[in-house]
């Protein structure tokens, strides 16, 4: 489409929402497995859930919610034309993402230290339901963590564009879509957290 500057912010947002559906369905497959296996192994799931650190999980939930707040504020501030504040807020979001991943690392390495990881001898020796629980736990939080990293890189790239002036009060759909993606990452955690840490 050279020669024609065609911009359709509404269309761009529609496309983003469609893409977010696909992400929800991706995790939907894991939630489906969770539902089926929870019904099959209620006791093993309960004892597995008790082994997770709900304090660290709660801190991570707060961190992610804060990061989403910062992302939402970044959208408002760019609409007001405050580029520097936008970059700072996006920096805050990325910082939170980093904090989230550090805590995730602490949690995972504690589990690894106890011999709990997919395919480990410890899990193979234990009851089958426990192995299923932890495999699902590592896959769900792992794939979610991957999304956190991708989202943080995406927002970092967008922050550079804001700083360079490419995105501004009149042209900020990319930031809005980036923030939408970040909210999705947050939203998925809002489901993972209670399912694995709280209700069991």
């Amino acid at each position: 489409m050279s020669g024609h500057e065609h911009r359709d912010d509404y269309g761009a947002k529609l496309g983003m929402w469609l893409f977010l559906f696909t992400e929800l369905l991706l995790f939907g497959g894991l939630f489906l497995l969770y539902a089926v296996y929870l019904k099959r192994y209620p006791h093993e799931f309960a004892s597995g859930g008790k082994q997770l650190n709900w304090v660290l999980g709660s801190i991570n939930t707060v961190i992610l919610l804060t990061s989403s707040l910062a992302a939402a504020m970044a959208v408002t501030s760019i609409q007001r034309g405050e580029a520097r504040r936008t970059v700072a807020l996006l920096g805050g979001t990325i910082l939170c993402a980093g904090g989230f991943m550090v805590i995730k690392y602490v949690e995972w390495s504690a589990k690894f230290g106890h011999g709990i990881y997919p395919g480990s001898e410890h899990l193979k020796a234990g009851p089958p339901g426990e192995s299923v629980f932890f495999s699902l736990y590592f896959l769900s939080t792992g794939i979610h963590g991957l999304h956190v990293v991708i989202g943080a890189i995406l927002l970092g790239w967008i922050a550079l564009k804001v700083r360079g002036g490419e995105l501004n009060a009149g042209n900020n759909i990319l930031l809005e879509n980036g923030a939408l993606y970040w909210h999705l990452v947050d939203l998925i955690w809002i489901f993972i957290f209670p399912l694995y840490y709280l209700i069991l």
Binding site: M1, A12, L18, F19, L24, L25, V36, K124, L139
Partner: protein, 537 residues
């Protein structure tokens, strides 16, 4: 070709560059469509060769030309290539990209760069799949369904092949996102929802299935990789997992995927039949609606692949019932096509012959599908050659023939040259004959109890297998004749200009070949897609 348009240059020579990079990095929907066309048709030919080899092997009992392991690998690769690299991207990627934006009166799709990325992801995935065949433990031997527990244990290169399919899935999702957005946002003035050509309507329904079903395949394939690489054991019964859960997840995608393959084919037929009958389509709204109905109902029937896998009787009955529901919108389409033909001024040119054979072959495939959808009869023919015959009738006789129809109908528009009519009709006759000899025989073999995917068989199945193999040669001869005639025509044939078929959809109102931005100025649509009054042939 450029002398045909005194004003805007055609998309073939708009930039003055014709090298490879002007194609593989182009964001023009017509160029991307042609890229898709050439790549998908190449993989189709790979799949055809593999299929012919399989038929030669099955020509006689015992070893004919290959060993059992090679046979397992070949039917797996045949399925993977045909399904993931040809049929699924075939119509939306190739003809959807070429035709749909023009049909709605747009200059391009909503996200042209995403469109290019989608093709690149397809190519990257395809290359990974190809690499998987010749590296590691050799070509996968699981069948295209990658069923666990075998797929998590076999020493062949399943992980890499599955990763390739995963990447191709992204490509499919991006095409879906692009098409839904385009059809919502870029319709020209006057292109109301009830004036959208039925091909575009079918792409719209397809795009929704691509968006909503493909992610389930993605996560399923990730789980297979995790099973093999990390040893998660989620589908391993010795570790508390359940292989049947794999089948559920796989078919939650792969049954709707069947509608990704067939819906746009129905759209092609819905566009061609009124043009060659010189009559407005009968029941436009019902055909458009039935596409959405098939997409919706088709997403709820995956369990009919699993009647013998160990589901509860309740689940079997529910899935069987839902499967029968899909027959209703499918039949609506067939009856409406027939009603369109009634008292029409029918001209039996090549696109029309392929479209008409679609109706017949799809109907045979669809009706045999009901035998499989009914739990009581399915148990007897499950995993026999009856199933193989059934889905080839739907996928090849249906989608394949629709693609051939589209090739004869639309490609001359984009090349500005046409094929010779007589060889095209001879090729059609050969293919139609060979097709039925090949696949109807398979259905009979299945009824007699010959299982699918078996390397060897009882001597009593010998004669019919020989007949089927001979059918495959007739089919291949027709295919070669068709392709030679078509491509020779497109590059060196008679000029094709204006609107020789007399189509009323927008793509027939633009120059031949279309200029880069399709329309000169903004088109305003004032009539329906099948309103032939005032169309000059």
């Amino acid at each position: 070709m450029s002398d045909m348009q005194p004003t805007a240059p055609s998309f073939w020579n708009d930039t003055g560059k014709t090298g490879l990079t002007s194609w593989i990095f182009s964001t023009d929907h017509k160029r991307i469509g042609l890229l898709y066309f050439y790549t998908t048709i190449s993989f189709f030919l790979v799949g055809v060769v593999l299929g012919l080899l399989l038929r030669i092997e099955l020509m006689a009992p015992g070893r004919t030309i290959m060993g059992a392991q090679t046979y397992n690998a070949l039917f797996t690769v045949h399925g993977v290539v045909m399904i993931f690299l040809f049929i699924i991207p075939g119509i939306p990627g190739a003809f959807g990209n070429m035709v749909m934006p023009i049909q709605v009166g747009a200059r391009d799709v909503s996200f042209p760069r995403l469109n290019l990325l989608s093709w690149w992801l397809y190519i990257i995935g395809a290359v990974i799949i190809l690499v998987s065949l010749f590296s590691g433990g050799g070509a996968p031997d699981t069948g295209w369904t990658f069923y666990v527990p075998f797929s998590s244990r076999t020493g062949t290169n399943v992980s890499l092949a599955v990763f390739g399919v995963f990447i191709v899935g992204f490509s499919s999702i991006l095409t879906g996102v692009n098409f839904v957005t385009t059809i919502h946002r870029l319709r020209a003035e006057g292109m109301t929802w009830s004036r959208i050509p039925l091909f575009t309507w079918s792409l719209y329904a397809t795009a929704w299935v691509q968006i909503l079903a493909t992610p389930i395949l993605a996560i399923t394939l990730v789980l297979v990789m995790a099973e093999r690489v990390l040893g998660t054991g989620l589908f391993d019964p010795t570790r508390g997992g359940d292989p049947v859960m794999y089948q559920h997840l796989f078919w939650i995608y792969s049954h709707p995927a069947v509608y990704i393959m067939i819906l746009p084919a129905m759209g092609i037929v819905s566009d061609i039949i009124p043009v060659f009958s010189r009559k407005p389509i009968f029941g436009y709204k019902m055909i458009a609606f039935s596409s959405l109905a098939i997409a919706a109902a088709g997403s709820l029937v995956w369990g009919h692949h699993m009647f013998t896998s160990g589901m509860s009787d309740t689940a079997v009955v529910v899935f069987s019932f839902l499967t029968f529901i899909v027959a209703i919108p499918s039949a609506i389409k067939v009856f409406n096509w027939i009603s369109t033909l009634y008292k029409g001024s029918i001209s039996l040119e090549a696109p029309m012959l392929f479209a008409l054979s679609f109706i017949l072959l799809f109907s045979i495939g669809g009706l045999s599908g009901l035998i499989l959808g009914a739990a009581a009869t399915d148990v007897h023919v499950h995993d026999t050659h009856f199933v193989v015959g059934h889905f080839h009738y739907v996928m090849f006789g249906g989608t394949g023939f629709a693609i051939f129809a589209a090739m004869h109908y639309w490609l001359p528009k984009f090349y500005g040259r046409r094929y010779k009519e007589k060889p095209a009709i001879v090729a059609w006759a050969l293919m139609f004959t060979g097709f039925n000899i090949l696949y109807f025989t398979m259905q009979v073999l299945g009824m007699k109890g010959m299982p699918r995917r078996y390397y060897d068989y009882l001597p009593e199945f010998g004669p019919l297998n020989l007949v089927a193999t001979i059918g495959s040669w007739i089919l291949a001869a027709g295919l070669i004749l068709m392709l030679v005639n078509l491509f020779r025509g497109l590059f060196r044939g008679e000029p094709f200009d204006g609107n020789p078929w007399g189509g009323a959809t927008l793509e027939w109102s633009v120059a031949t070949p279309p200029p880069t931005e399709n329309f000169e100025g903004e088109p305003v649509v004032t009539h329906g897609p099948y309103d032939f009054s005032g169309v000059k042939k």
